[in-house]
């Protein structure tokens, strides 16, 4: 009788152990399925992010569209609103100090300068009427790209906007929407796209002005002036005022350096 009870207990223990092992196996399998599902979902999400990131509107072509473009235009407009513009000069003609930028619109360091120290210079000193800012052309990055011949056209595109008092809109939008260096992103379509973003620009007139030989001549004259002064990199900044002219400042300088230079000649 005792032996029979013991056999029953052993059989019950075996059954329970087997059930527990089965439950553990099922739980392990469930965990593996969940982990597998999470890994697959993560891979899908990352692939989508990478594909959209590398082929979306923010791709290496530079030109922004939709809300992004509106946001950039609003940013540039808010910086320039109310500041007088004439040709390639931004600021009051009566300003005592003149800051001249020799730049190449495809140069990434010029872009960094424009979005950094130059932005502060415009917001503070140009807006207050203390400084006027002049843009001149000097070929650097574009010359190293796949289509160096586009240099005169792209710079003239900004000068053509200058004929309508909007050169600095074009210059700053170009810098804000610069594409990847060396990819040949500057095309007629790119230049037209930028012009269409400039608030209040008469696009038909701009297109017609773009072919004026005087604008290309102006780009060439800037280049010759830079060569005569021995400038060979961009941006090169000159600061002049009633007390004379400072040594040229080369590269992406900071606002403090510009301020010191302005004070020394004002």
């Amino acid at each position: 009788m005792a032996s029979r009870t013991k056999q029953k207990e052993e059989a019950r223990a075996r059954r329970l152990a087997e059930e527990r092992a089965q439950a553990e196996r099922a739980q392990r399998q469930r965990r593996m399925q969940m982990v597998g599902g999470v890994i697959i979902a993560a891979i899908v999400v990352v692939v989508v992010l990478v594909v959209v990131s590398s082929s979306g509107s923010g791709g290496p072509t530079g030109l922004k569209r939709g809300k992004e473009a509106s946001s950039t235009v609003a940013q540039v407009s808010s910086l320039l609103a109310g500041i007088p513009q004439s040709g390639v000069t931004l600021g009051s003609p009566a300003a005592k100090v003149t800051v001249t930028e020799f730049g190449d619109l495809q140069c990434p360091i010029c872009r960094d300068f424009a979005l950094g120290a130059e932005n502060q210079l415009i917001a503070n000193d140009v807006r207050s009427g203390k400084v006027k800012l002049v843009y001149r052309s000097l070929e650097t990055a574009t010359g190293n790209g796949p289509d160096p011949g586009i240099f005169a056209t792209q710079q003239a595109a900004a000068y053509a906007a200058g004929l309508q008092g909007k050169a600095w809109y074009y210059i700053l939008l170009f810098y804000h929407e610069q594409g990847q260096e060396g990819t040949g992103y500057v095309t007629t379509s790119y230049l037209n796209g930028l012009a269409q973003q400039v608030p209040g620009l008469d696009f038909a007139k701009w297109q017609s002005d773009l072919h004026r030989s005087s604008l290309v001549a102006q780009v060439n004259a800037d280049q010759q002036l830079a060569n005569a002064k021995g400038f060979n990199s961009t941006p090169t900044i000159t600061v002049s005022g009633p007390k004379g002219q400072t040594q040229p400042i080369v590269g992406d300088t900071d606002y403090g350096t510009l301020e010191t230079a302005i004070k020394s000649v004002a």
Binding site: E9, R12, A13, L16, A17, R20, E24, R31, M34, V35, V38, I39, A41, A42, I43, V45, V46, L49, V50, V52, S53, S54, G56, S57, G58, G59, P60, G62, G66, K67, E68, Q75, P108, I109, R111, D112, L115, G116, N119, H176, G179, Q180, D252
Partner: protein, 161 residues
Amino acid sequence: MSRILRRVMIGLTALGLADAIYLTYVHYAGIKPACTAGQSCLKVQTSAWSHVGAVPVALIGLIGYVGIMLSLLWREREEARLATLGMTLIGVAFSAYLTYRELFSIHAVCEWCAGSAVILALLFAGAVWRFLLGAPAAPAPSAAAPAATAAPQREPVRPRA
């Protein structure tokens, strides 16, 4: 151990969240990010890879950190640990891609982005560890166990007719 790990991960996520909030603010305010490496941060922040479609990467990071934080603050259960693991895996993989772009396409490293990449790598390692720790193996059954667990039961008392 699991509790300490969770607290450390919450701390790291708070740091990452602060980083992402700052970068998102810089993006929408249109200002230059503070950067010890010259203009590197600005270059990365304004590069072609700073957006996914129309959404800035900084905002995606912010949403990701909020998700990770919520999964960590959720009560201790396997689904929560798995959610943390999945989100940190996405974060670490995408930030690895962005770091590759910084090094080989933009040729500039943004310290805020690099910091976030390191935080995500640590969070991912922590999430894997926490997932493994959080599922201890059930105690091995012993011969005495069934007898011990089988509490003596009385037959229910049947009402007499």
